[in-house]
Amino acid sequence: MADKPTRDGFGEGLVELGATHPQVVALSGDLEDSTRAIWFKQKYPDRFFSVGIAEQDMIGTAAGLAMAGKIPFACSFAEFVTGKTLEQLRMAVCYQRLNVKTVGSHGGLSVGADGATAEALEEFSHMRCLPHMTVIAPCDAVEAKKATIACADFPGPVFLRLGRNPVPTITKPEEPYRIGQANVVRDGADVTIVACGVLVQHALQAAESLAKEGIQARVINLHTIKPIDRAALAQAARDTGAIVTAEEHTVLGGLGGAVAEVIVQEHPVPMRFVGVMDRFGTSGDPAQLLKAFHLMPDDIAAAVRDVLKLKAVGSRA
């Protein structure tokens, strides 16, 4: 299957929801072309609302639509729709437990050349500490479409993180998808790699090269960062004894932090974090940036070798 951006999967999913869910509406802060919400606008112009370049008002307006029974999808760049709007998401959406779906495309380094101001690297941390918020980061377009459709029937606030660039499709339409339920995409007994977004693909590549060294890595696609699948993570810690997390996001408080919070309480094992090391993004080709920020399969494999040393020390003690 050809490479495809997760935002395209979202756009297709939203159009499908247009037909199946009359309460679904969409809002855009002048980025409907970038987020692919424009496909919904073209098909359902009456249910699409342009609110201008005003993200705070967009989230407030979405909250109002939800108060009146609609299922609004409020779409912009991941950075702007979570960063500028943290207070609106907190009081208007989460405190009121409203059925608002906040959609951020161009997440991570995928906006590349535009540089640091548009590169979202902190949204998982911001969003997951809001009570009642669900945080989802699909790994490919097929999963993004499933996630979008699942969102509509999942009551309450959701943040959906999408990427700009085409990524390999590694999931299949017929595979099960449930918000909050992690998918084990490769089994192994020596170590577990927990990843989301494009890093799931990188984790699988890392696992393949590790297998040649005799290291069998389990790979978990943790598409839902919150609510987190505690059982799957605890099982992985018990079965494999070491964990590496991988995300296109800061290592402070994101997927890695969320996994660590579970592991230290359920079954402590050595961990390593692959992610952006407490810094802003920068301009460049996105593929080049993933290398420069050490988010490639080789980086994950190196972290695995490193964590396995700790595991060995632990088992001798």
Binding site: A54, Q56, D57, G60, T61, G64, M67
Partner: protein, 294 residues
């Protein structure tokens, strides 16, 4: 408490709304009673915002005893008009109004701000009958009013959405984003009410950051502007009627009010923005208000 018509229930659609004017003199007496209850409630809580609660009393009376289509016995009635309190710190006034109308037992007012209570220091939606929106973080209500109006338009609903804001609150940029949205989408079911009580926490609005000329600003943003003395009940009722008749654009009622209205030592004194009266101060305030009844 002076008996007045309560729970003005109207079931007809907006177009057909013809309602009897309540007796203005009795509403004036009601305003004094409500002010006394507001002060008792805040004094009992030991903290709260008397100034901005007292300034909005006539604006609430005009809604809840006249303009608003609502039913205290059916707070979730789908076709009710909506009142959104964006200046959440004024909630003691709203709680007193709702309790007086029977949305919840009046003795529950004594639980304001005390754990565990349904009467949060700033209102929480879903916790207490009659509270339509959570607020307390300023500047957010008008966006939600617009969202409700957009949904209602899709659904063919004809209810009204009123949103009460403070004048200091208008310093929040989101208010003006929402003003643009209301204009762009021609949301004529939305009526913004500005309780322009002249003061904010640290002093006169004019000194903290001037927001005038308000009527020109709202007009420039495409809203139908009605400017009134917000303590003149007859003018308040007129303003709501006028706003109702406007088609094709949202309306902004700019109510010129006095922070701390009705209590001499609180009036236009920003020190009373967020401080509860002590027992002797309460007694003095209640006596002043008693005198206003005669």
């Amino acid at each position: 408490m002076t008996p007045v018509a309560t729970g003005h229930v109207r079931q007809e659609h907006r177009e057909e709304r013809v309602m009897a004017r309540p007796d203005v003199a009795s509403l004036r007496r009601l305003a004094v009673d409500l002010r006394q209850d507001i002060l008792r409630t805040i004094a009992n809580a030991g903290s709260g915002h008397p100034g901005g609660s007292l300034s909005m009393v006539e604006l609430l009376i005009g809604l809840y005893w006249y303009k608003l289509r609502h039913d205290p016995k059916r707070p979730d009635w789908p076709d009710r008009d909506l009142f959104l309190l964006s200046k959440g710190h004024g909630c003691p006034a709203l709680y007193v109004v709702l309790a007086t109308l029977g949305y919840f037992p009046k003795d529950e007012l004594s639980t304001l701000r005390k754990y565990p209570t349904r009467l949060q220091g700033h209102p929480e939606r879903g916790m207490l009958p009659g509270i339509e929106m959570s607020s307390g973080s300023l500047g957010q209500g008008l966006s939600m009013a617009n969202g409700i109006a957009l949904a209602d338009r899709l659904d063919g609903r004809t209810r009204r959405v009123f949103c009460l804001m403070g004048d200091g609150e208008l310093q929040e940029g989101q208010v003006w984003e929402a003003a643009m949205t209301g204009h762009h989408h021609k949301l004529d079911s939305v009526c913004a009410i500005i309780d322009a009580n002249q003061l904010q926490q640290n002093g006169p609005v004019k000194q903290i950051q001037d927001i005038e000329p308000l009527p020109d600003k709202w007009r420039a943003f495409g809203w139908h502007v009605i400017e009134i003395d917000g303590h003149d009940i007859a003018k308040v009722l007129d303003a709501y009627d006028q706003a109702d008749a406007v088609k094709g654009k949202p309306q902004a009622i700019i109510a010129r009010t006095v922070k701390g209205k009705g209590v001499s030592f609180m009036e236009l004194n920003h020190a009373w923005h967020g401080v509860a009266p002590k027992p002797d101060e309460l007694e003095k305030a209640l006596k002043e208000l008693d005198a206003a009844k005669r």
